[in-house]
Symmetry: C2
Subunit: 378 residues, 2 copies
């Protein structure tokens, strides 16, 4: 009867002990009944969570790292049941933050991880020696043909990946079915003409039954990647894209932010946008770069990169993609911070630096190639 | 070109104005590019969010209620795109809390609301004059036949609704397909024998493609209700249960808690578990009762009840279901607080008060009938 471990950082109140809080979590997340009501055969099966370790944080008076193990069989039937076990009810409590997990091989079919990962995407793009260059089709409100023209220019300029802005999905001014055909045709045409290998990744953000048809349409049109936000479409829906299709899968953090607001409750960015999204199958995980419009600290970003790239069972490494207000001018600093196995995303700034978007994309690629000490591959 | 309005409570920092923050939200949630890059025809279409009102909270130095309107067409293509527009990227920012929305009729097909609502459920149960009595099958780890025996006893005792514990879904010790048939048979048998009208609502918590099969199986077995957590299975997946099936739909708040941790960021319980879940189609919305194991205040709970019951476009009223550590002994106080149109859920306490669960359920029903000034309907 195998078990898996979850590390929580807990911040205890004055009248509370870490042991009591840990014991509450053990029951709340599993049997959800008072200790004295647990049938003995349920206890013997190992259903209640078990406190494995409690360690006080050295730098804090009231913060502890507690490790609780759960029976794998309570959590491995679905992605949503896994998350339910980790944090379902205790999300409604206070001062509990998921810091990490350790899973055994019994989770390998639930969580196959990235289909391509860093190595597979590099192979698909034939780009090995520099960060990847990603641009975004925006703003929402442009027509499908305007977005297709934009994509053509970005591909001509040598962008590796062109994604929809995450706010563009299936609106009346650019229906999904129409847009993805036009944009993909434009990218294909540019690739043929300029010898580029640009990949287009549309945003899928619809109800499950609609999304399934959209994914089929993408596959039929030779589209190689998709962008999706697990916290919007559902973590299980995201995992099913990985399991049932063959797209390069880019995860967007939209709606996940309430997990990171407090250092005392929710989950670390490294766990949520790193480990969890990689487990769900993200080949690339987009996150808000420190110093941009959002609030992650430099060390949040570093830990997140580690959780995407470092060994994790037999899973492939995934690309971190720092984004949010990035500019061509800070590529050198970004490269120093994040290194080669990174996807750089520049959106708005490309629209600012030239009205010829192929020129903007070309400058982006040149700047990335320059810092990597390599000439352009395109 | 119709628009809808969102009210956010924002808490501004010393060096920040409410106007600047509101203007940032307007761009971040729509076009997501710098002001100077917005094409004029996109601006003319009304794509950028628009500040409608800014009002300082009287009791606070730095808190404002801001109202922003968005073009309905940017948000009404799917539930997940709606949430993306309300809070996708700004979830990753700070000090922004959704307080409410006003939608026009253009959202009526996206959000049909409860299929049954208070009136429809009362009709299905033939119970008009008291709160509804709901019990839970638990703990996780029991076999399907043990859970079926428990359900039989609860039905015999006169419970109106028997739900799976939200942590019981499709585990190896009680597979969904096996459990729901056994439990439903047990409830059907008890109903036939004791003249009760008990409804069983299993927890659905699987990946979208699996869940679809489970829902079909439920329908084929005459199951009338289901329990699901929108934040676990996905908000769109939950909405599709409402749109494509005919179950009494019970919403569980699991994993939603990070929205409520801070009074400064996320969403009010009244908006999220009230308005939003009702829009998605919840007939009953479970929430953590104040004074229990969780953290909602009495006024949080009151506002939540209002948002479920008060007029909202043409939507049916939904039942609030306060839960979490409720006991038979506090039914009078619960009745005073929540009134008649409420679902009372008692789980663990029923296991504590008698080893004969039909007796426990009977005591629960009697206590509810007594405070309502009515004799038992069963």
């Amino acid at each position: 009867m195998s078990r898996f471990e979850v590390d929580y950082i807990v911040t205890v109140a004055k009248n509370q002990s870490a042991e009591t809080l840990a014991a509450e979590i053990c029951l709340e997340q599993t049997v959800e009944i008072p200790e004295d009501c647990i049938p003995s055969h349920v206890r013997e099966k190992g259903l209640p969570g078990k406190i494995e370790r409690i360690a006080k944080e050295e730098t804090s008076d009231n913060r502890y790292l507690i490790t609780i193990s759960y029976l794998s069989g309570i959590a491995d039937s679905s992605v949503s049941q896994f998350l339910n076990t980790l944090f379902g009810n205790i999300s409604l409590k206070n001062n509990i933050r998921i810091n990490g997990i350790r899973l055994g091989n019994e989770f390998s079919s639930l969580f196959p991880g990235p289909l391509y990962g860093v190595s597979g995407i590099r192979q698909a793009l034939n780009v090995y020696d520099r960060p990847l260059v990603c641009t975004a089709l925006k703003p929402a409100g442009l027509s499908s043909s305007e977005l297709a023209a934009m994509a053509y220019a970005f591909a001509k300029g040598g962008a590796d990946i062109i994604k929809d802005d995450h706010g563009i999905s299936n609106q009346r001014y650019s229906r999904f079915d129409e847009r993805i055909v036009r944009v993909q045709n434009a990218v294909r045409e540019a690739n043929a003409k300029y010898g580029t290998s640009t990949i287009y990744a549309p945003m899928v953000n619809d109800e499950p039954s609609v999304m399934l048809k959209q994914l089929d349409l993408c596959a039929r049109n030779g589209i190689k990647g998709v962008l999706a936000a697990p916290s919007l479409i559902g973590y299980g829906a995201f995992a099913e894209i990985r399991r049932n299709h063959e797209f390069i899968l880019i995860a967007h953090p939209a709606l996940a932010g309430t997990f990171f607001y407090s250092p005392e409750h929710g989950a670390t960015p490294a766990f949520f946008l790193g480990t969890l999204f990689r487990l769900l199958g993200a080949d690339i995980s987009i996150f808000p770069n420190s110093g941009g419009r959002f609030l992650f600290s430099p060390s949040d970003c570093d830990s997140l990169c580690d959780s995407l790239r470092n060994p994790l069972n037999a899973l492939k490494a995934a690309f971190p993609a720092p984004a949010g207000g990035m500019r061509i001018s800070n590529i050198p600093e970004m490269y120093d911070r994040y290194g080669k196995d990174t996807v750089f995303i520049i959106g708005g700034n490309l629209l600012q630096i030239s009205s010829d978007l192929s020129e903007s994309a070309g400058m982006f690629l040149s700047a990335v190639s320059a810092v990597s000490g390599k000439s352009e591959t395109a």
